[in-house]
């Protein structure tokens, strides 16, 4: 277990090193901190002096080391635009993105497993064909278009009272949904403060409602992939001898499907899918743009627009860190689920 962790940690550090070199190269070539600090009016001699004081004339390696040491302490300098430490800016936007990714992940997991399993168990049923048809269409619709269509249909197109009005819970739900003219199309609404920079949408019905459309559109990019992956893996597993043997043992079908087959199906799904969940962070750039969701993706695009180099660099490093953490977690979970992987690091 320890050896496995050390190996994973080493790999993670290597990846972070590559990312930091790229990030530093961007900062070094595109950002001019002097310009930002003092503006145009200061004479060239003064600038040169400042440059020297800040160590900008030092060799590349020295500058990189300084960058890396600061980065390791989560110090990436100040955002040009916000005039605040970039990490603070990120911390303000991070919860919105993480909540969005978490909701989308929840939708993906909750929907893809039953649908994938069903369409593998009954590949010829019309419902399975329907799901497969929908999933290929889903793959073909870019995530921002899904978002736009959802806005058009649910937030602009129709006034929205879907619940039965003759029951008390129906009227209540309709009221919840219909405030401010239907399904919210933009922003997070008024999230509730939890702690520090963390404001949550999870704590109120209205907050959750704001999450619905962005989460669905973010989930729509991965859901079809997951359904197809689970179905394909499950179909392959169901052909295997150990499933036939389990049937020959007289085990109940339910147990065969949901224990024997599903556990084996999930192994490749965890490795492939786990990485994909990490990449959802990338897709938040698109969903957040469409929904004006005040998360990191929207912040990143804004930073690009305004050439806020320190903020761009920080975003890259933080997102890289998120990817590395998810990948390591996925490997750990895989190791825990699959008995043929020994976490001791010795070959099995």
């Amino acid at each position: 277990m320890l050896a496995f962790l050390i190996k994973r940690l080493f790999h993670a550090l290597l990846v972070m090193f590559v990312i930091s070199v790229i990030a530093f190269a961007i900062q070094d070539n595109l950002g001019d901190p002097i310009q930002q600090m003092v503006g145009q009016s200061v004479p060239e001699s003064e600038r040169a002096q400042l440059r020297e004081e800040l160590g900008l004339n030092d060799p590349f390696l020295v500058q990189y080391l300084r960058f890396a040491i600061n980065a390791a302490q989560f110090d990436f300098g100040y955002s040009y635009v916000f005039n605040q430490p970039t990490t603070e800016v990120i911390a303000r936007h991070l919860p919105a993105t993480l909540e969005l990714v978490a909701s989308a992940t929840f939708l993906i997991v909750v929907l893809s497993v039953p649908i994938g399993v069903y369409s593998a168990i009954k590949p010829r049923a019309w419902l399975s064909r329907f799901f497969m048809g929908i999933s290929i269409i889903g793959i073909s619709i870019p995530v921002f278009l899904t978002a736009i269509v959802l806005i058009q249909i649910f937030a602009i197109g129709i006034s929205w009272t879907p619940f039965p009005a003759d029951t008390s819970w129906g009227t209540w739900l309709n009221e919840v949904v219909s405030t401010e003219g239907g399904m919210p199309a933009y922003g997070r609404g008024d999230p509730i403060h939890v702690v520090g920079t963390w404001y949550t949408n999870f704590a109120s019905p209205r907050g959750l409602l704001y999450l619905v459309l962005p989460a669905i559109s973010l989930a729509s990019i991965m859901l079809p992939l997951f359904i197809r992956l689970i179905r394909a893996e499950m179909l392959e597993v169901l052909q295997s001898d150990y499933i036939k043997f389990a049937r020959a043992k007289g085990i109940r079908l339910r147990r065969i499907y949901f224990l024997h087959a599903l556990k084996n199906t999930m192994l490749p799904v965890i490795t492939v899918g786990g990485v994909q969940i990490g990449t959802l962070v990338a897709y938040t750039i698109l969903t957040e743009t469409v929904f004006q969701w005040p998360g990191m993706g929207l912040m990143f695009l804004d930073a690009i627009e305004r050439s806020d180099i320190p903020l761009i660099v920080t975003y890259l490093m933080i997102v890289g860190l998120i990817f590395v953490i998810t990948n390591t977690l996925v490997d750990l979970i895989y190791g825990l689920v699959n008995p043929t992987v020994k976490l001791t690091g010795k070959p099995a």
């Binding site: 290597l14 990846v15 590559v18 961007i26 595109l30 290929i136 269409i137 793959i139 073909s140 619709i141 870019p142 995530v143 921002f144 278009l145 736009i148 269509v149 806005i151 058009q152 602009i156 490749p268 490795t271 492939v272 990485v275 990490g278 990449t279 962070v281 990338a282 897709y283 750039i285 698109l286 743009t289 469409v290 695009l301 690009i304 627009e305 050439s307 761009i312 890259l316 997102v319 890289g320 990817f323 590395v324 990948n327």
Partner: protein
Amino acid sequence: MNSMSPSLSRWSRFRDSYLLYSFKRDLIAQLSLVIFILLLAAAVLAPWLAPTNPYDLAQIDLLASELPPFWIEGSDDAYLLGTDAQGRDLLSTILYGARVSLIIGFGAVALQATLGVCFGLLAGYLGGRIDAFLMRLADIQLSFSTLMVAIVVGALVKAIFGGDTFGAYAVPLLVLIIGLAEWPQYARTVRASVLAEKSKEYVDAARVMGLPSRRIMFRHILPNTLSPIFVISTVQVANAIISEAALSFLGLGMPETQPSLGSLIKSGFDYLQSGSWWITLIPGAALVVLVLVINLLGDWLRDVLNPRLYKG
């Protein structure tokens, strides 16, 4: 006499092949191919088919902006699918836009296939350090998701060149960006099949005969990895078109003066709230149909050729 026979036999081989047999049985594949060919033809022939030239500022009538498509009241017969916010005929911009999207899609796939196949062959055939380095690079890039890489590279390229230069060279730059972002897909698949092929006897035989590595790789191993390459290429064209659309939607792609389907969707998005949904959704529908038929063809190909694709 004799020169006829190879082409004849190739034709008859194709006629008797399983590929054609299963194509004849698959209605969805036939339909997809027909629609794809129609779209391709419409895009290629856009300058002749389109009622107006959207690049030509003289033909644009600002007074005719935001006209709805023909089935909605208030439409103008001159503009079948309506007009966008700048008064450009939507049908024309879609035809020209599909053209741009397809050029970038195919271009990017050609680039990533070249890169990926070369790197995959090298990694699989030579093994050792080169293999470890290339595959680690592919791992890192894939774990970042190709979209992320494309967005970052796109943003940097735009920052370096400035918006105007970027706009002028947008097509080659986007081909480059998407091509660079997606090569690992090919490299991993090619490497996997090279490893499988390498262990087979004919490669040993070729090596024992003293053939140079390059010849073994390109003449002996590569042909045997073609069917997975073929299958991913289809899917990758669809992906590249979507990536281009995503970049354009974020303002990192084609400029509005020379729109692709993605930038059309973006330019229409601002008018969604004002009720002019068609400016966004009609190009969107065109994009989806284009990508969908390519994906359906890819699905069919995968089922027929049934290659072992690299998972993950």
